[in-house]
Symmetry: C2
Amino acid sequence: MNTQQTYHVAVVGATGAVGEKMLETLSKRSFPIGKLTLLSSKRSAGKTLVYNNETYEVQEATPESFAGVDIALFSAGGSVSKKLAPEAVKHGAIVIDNTSAFRMDTEVPLVVPEVNPEDLTAHKGIIANPNCSTIQMVAALKPIKERYGLSRVIVSTYQAVSGAGTEAIEEMKQQSRDLLDGKAAEPKILPVGGDKKHYQIAFNAIPQIDVFQDNGYTFEEMKMINETKKILHDEDLSVSATCVRLPVASGHAESVYIETEATDVTAEEIKALLQTAEGVTLQDDPSTQTYPMPALAEGKDDVFVGRVRKDPDVANGIHLWVVSDNLLKGAALNSVQIAERMIEMKLLNS
Amino acid sequence: MNTQQTYHVAVVGATGAVGEKMLETLSKRSFPIGKLTLLSSKRSAGKTLVYNNETYEVQEATPESFAGVDIALFSAGGSVSKKLAPEAVKHGAIVIDNTSAFRMDTEVPLVVPEVNPEDLTAHKGIIANPNCSTIQMVAALKPIKERYGLSRVIVSTYQAVSGAGTEAIEEMKQQSRDLLDGKAAEPKILPVGGDKKHYQIAFNAIPQIDVFQDNGYTFEEMKMINETKKILHDEDLSVSATCVRLPVASGHAESVYIETEATDVTAEEIKALLQTAEGVTLQDDPSTQTYPMPALAEGKDDVFVGRVRKDPDVANGIHLWVVSDNLLKGAALNSVQIAERMIEMKLLNS
């Protein structure tokens, strides 16, 4: 007799880059789905998608779409979440939102299950999935903060184009082909679809992800700064960030510089700690040129850490190189893991 | 009547990526060449190159090649410099060496003409051209150090493949074509030609440039650390670095985090200072998405700086994004500028 509880799951933004990975992840992890509802914008409604050998027609997301839904995984942009997530909650669904719409809302838990699962208990219907570049960084930093204290983070990112959607991947490929053929690149989307100017991403690096804020930082940089403090429950932690887009399809890399409170930590101690950290895989052996890279991380679940070493001049300064698949742990996987953790913690109504 | 002094110039490594740029730069700047000798390894000897519409046959570099040479520009690898630079000096030539062979030799000036031209006066025949990634960084840091003091530098680089030679550019292009065509990439050179393992550079980022040292840093990282202190004459300056290779042909970018001694500097003051700095072009206006990028810097002489902003949490912390053509200011141009400066300073025998 199978007594496993199953859930009615809705995926909002099912036809997007993250939506596709949500479905793959739910299937791969055998998430207990009783009923599956695939939702999208009006434009993509009517498309069909296959899940576990069954074909589903994607429906336009409306407030009524959430009747009977237990878990709604949102990844269709901030404006859709702002409009429809409260409607889903009214219908009794738990919303796990992958956009920035509610992340800094003090009423909304912002959760990486390996880092701050306890925050889930305070939810009021919506749980926010952090920004991709934040998730992988805090996964590596949490065990270090717990053991040695953490006073400072300075991060420079090396981010993949898939964070800007499937069209951005196509744009990178088309520009690469054109430039290799001696033609001009035609920038149309990156760095930011809705911004005024577009720049070549193929064979280039663009120091802008998301739009600029009044303080000269991009919104992506401010997400890393603010979300890191919220997830680690430490408003006194100094965090600063520079976010850069690269011609890489999937897999964000980060050069993370930290200062621990302890001044006598060795790189070997940090490595030993990360070797047993949940969700983290240490790839660090200079003698065999072993270190994480986006091309190796694509399609994998873990957060990979390498190049661990001490600042030669600053006793509590440590470098880490952190890589993870931005569509998986950075988005779809973390969202599904939040749902799984809520089931474990008995935070979902049965 | 033309009374301009001319010089017998030898280019060692004339057929390489930097050698080619040396010749372009000498021609573009109308360097006063009386006689030009092009030298290479035995393997490339016999090739012909055109300089100012005249064809030259490249000769194998031997100790005797330097008879009568006034200025020898070396860029053929450290082992060639170690063997032949002293021979050139014996023949009375001034050697400007673009390899790492003599950079940390206390008897050898390590010079960026805009930064420490005074060091040239102490030369004993050999002047070292710094590492490409160091040159562009110190060009941006020198005016800041002079005005506001500088206590700390933490840099993460985004480096182009041309720093590893013309074959590395071809490797990147071939891998890009293969991957776009659905074939596997075949890594043969990068990250380091002579190292044990090779990794895909197309659509990837490799956190290794040059070989690993015993302390876990790569040689490229240690070059940035040690050369920056030497050029800025400041052994107390804290410097740390993470160097990463990108699928970009030419143009190194750097996310540079600094701490000034002054704690009340504004980003606007730093920008105003850099706007008038020699060899530096400020490209910094978030409202028009203006910032430096490798694709914009390729073929240009200057060091471009943008994304200037203060750390939101640390009063004396400032971010810079520094981009320059690694084959020009990072190599060929700086070498030629050293020669020009030595002529101006009357440090070359007439």
